[in-house]
Amino acid sequence: MITDGAAFAFWVLAVGTCLAALSVVLLRNIFHAALLLVLTFTGVAGIYIVLSADFLAGVQLLIYAGAISILIIFAVMLTRRPVMTGGFSRFSISAAIVAVTLVIALIWVTVGLTDWSISSESPIQPTTAPLANALFDRTNGWVLPFEVASIVLLAAMIGAIAIVKDK
């Protein structure tokens, strides 16, 4: 199965990422879980690099590992009890059934229904210009959705400031 460096890197990253993700769910100490979440995000970025999507990998590191995980860790630090004790909630059986059904459905949709065609084209280098062209092309780009998204984000930011501002 391991034929070259890329395949080797993929398997190391995939196994590492899955282990980290599993420990995020299974660990009782939520600070450790949050740190392992950072490791999971980093592993996903590594898989993007293996797939020659270097811009995406950079953005993944910047947004998820750099910003979102910081927010999560900060929220964890503000919680009173970082180590979770106590048993399962009384809804655990029904929750497990729903979760398992959802996972099976998701795997069915993503893995089963995808047409796994292997491209013989070599990856595009550099990736930044094609991405920008796809986003901002004058005829069939996505300029309007992009601008709408930024206005929504700006509104959210102003809203957040308005909520926490001292009266």
Binding site: V59, L62, G66, M77
Partner: protein, 412 residues
């Protein structure tokens, strides 16, 4: 192999030469592994002695600023002081607080050091002398840099020490706020160079019409300098480890080489910040034209790194530390709006460059004059408009809420 590739002037050709020789004469994988190891060794040959040197330079220079002598006992002019300090750090007893969270506590120095050294992968020391010339170089720099927060967090949380925890809290506030103007200041340079690759950015500063970007991006450079000092914890903005307030911040509970690793990581990222500044704004490996023939590019580059390091020491010795509310207000009310305006102005200028019929030299002079005037105007106007009221620490609402003052009607 051509012996001229090993000429000291262009160090970068050594690796290329070794790579082509290996791919012709040896197994395929050696062509990847051997140059990588060679490059790493070359990088460490620069970094490790630099670590010892800059610590000595900083202590000597600070002493000069404060009319002291500084280290002067070990070796000539105290030159061996850093080596002695390193031996001291290595031979100290390793102490761990009893209630420390063991794994994050032990991992934090490592997590802090790895990104600090990974940054050097994309920095071009010479025309062929970048470890990996990524085409997303700048994005990589920013992304890797954001990991330093996690290290501070881990150390601050795991130490089970209130000063360390306060430092971790401050690090979020400061680093997350200063990350924004830091990245926005880079955008002006990216617009002008038309590339994220650091090698391409340096090349854009040599070819004909463009000179060093400091001539057309003064505001971006100023913003980048301030935010970079905040990101690497230099004194006017080093609230994460302000000695007088929170002992040593996140590494209060670290001793021996665990502390040493934090120390080394800090100086590594300071040197990296100097390297990035000289790459983006001061022409990277380019030097004074008529001397470039005699002095190799990598010497120019390293000289620039050291000059910027001296500027960092200068600011540290000159400016008093900011209070946390001043620091945050400075980032959000001053740096971010100005960096956004800088992007707007630069974008308009880049659009005009494409459509101009003026001679490049005339055009660049015009841009330089306009940008410097605009930078001065904006800084003066903004500091007039958002002048902070003079308040004692006791009058800050955060302090009042903690019960430091009797309740009274707010005056603002």
């Amino acid at each position: 192999m051509d012996w001229r590739d090993f000429y000291i002037y262009h160090l970068g050709k050594v690796n290329e030469s070794v790579r082509s020789w290996l791919s012709a004469h040896a197994a395929g994988w050696t062509a990847y592994v051997v140059p990588a190891i060679l490059g790493a060794i070359l990088l460490l040959v620069f970094l490790l002695p630099s670590q010892l040197m800059v610590v000595w330079i900083e202590r000597r220079l600070i002493a000069r600023f404060q009319i002291r002598r500084g280290p002067n006992r070990v070796g000539p002019w105290g030159l061996l002081q850093s080596i002695v300090d390193a031996i001291k750090l290595l031979s100290k007893e390793a102490i761990m607080p009893r209630y420390a969270d063991k794994w994050p506590y032990l991992a934090a120095p490592v997590v802090g050091f790895i990104p600090a050294i990974l940054v050097y992968a994309v920095i071009p020391f010479g025309p062929d002398l970048a470890f990996a010339d990524l085409n997303i170089g700048l994005l990589y720099l920013v992304a890797i840099g954001s990991y330093s927060v996690i290290s501070v967090f881990m150390a601050g949380w795991a130490s089970s020490n209130k000063y360390a925890l306060i430092s971790a809290m401050r690090s979020v506030a400061v680093l997350v706020s200063y990350e924004i103007p830091n990245v926005l200041a880079l955008v002006g340079v990216i617009l002008l160079a038309g590339s994220l690759s650091l090698t391409d950015i340096v090349r854009a500063q040599s070819s004909g019409s463009f000179t060093w970007f400091i001539t057309v991006q003064p505001l971006a450079f100023l913003i980048f300098f301030i935010t970079a000092s905040a990101e690497v914890n230099r004194t006017p903005v080093d609230l994460i480890e302000a000695e007088q307030e929170i002992v040593a911040g996140h590494h209060t509970e670290y001793s021996g080489m665990k502390f040493g690793l934090f120390y080394v990581a800090e100086y590594t990222s300071i040197l990296a910040a100097c390297a990035v500044m000289s790459t983006l704004f001061f022409g990277g490996w380019h030097g004074i034209p008529w001397l470039e023939r005699y002095i190799p590019p990598w010497i120019w580059f390293i000289a620039k790194i050291y000059i910027f390091f001296a500027v960092f020491i200068w600011t540290r010795a000159t400016l008093p530390r900011l209070r946390i509310d001043q620091l945050m207000a400075f980032a959000w009310k001053f740096l971010i709006p100005l960096s956004l305006l800088n992007i707007l102005v630069t974008a308009v200028e880049v659009l005009l460059i494409d459509n101009t019929t003026l001679a490049p030299a005339v055009w660049m002079t015009l841009l330089a004059v306009v940008n410097y005037a605009l930078a001065a105007l904006l800084i003066v106007a903004w500091s007039r408009a958002f002048r902070m009221p003079r308040r004692r620490s006791a009058d800050i609402p955060e302090v009042r809420r903690l019960g430091a003052l009797p309740a009274e009607t707010p005056s603002y």
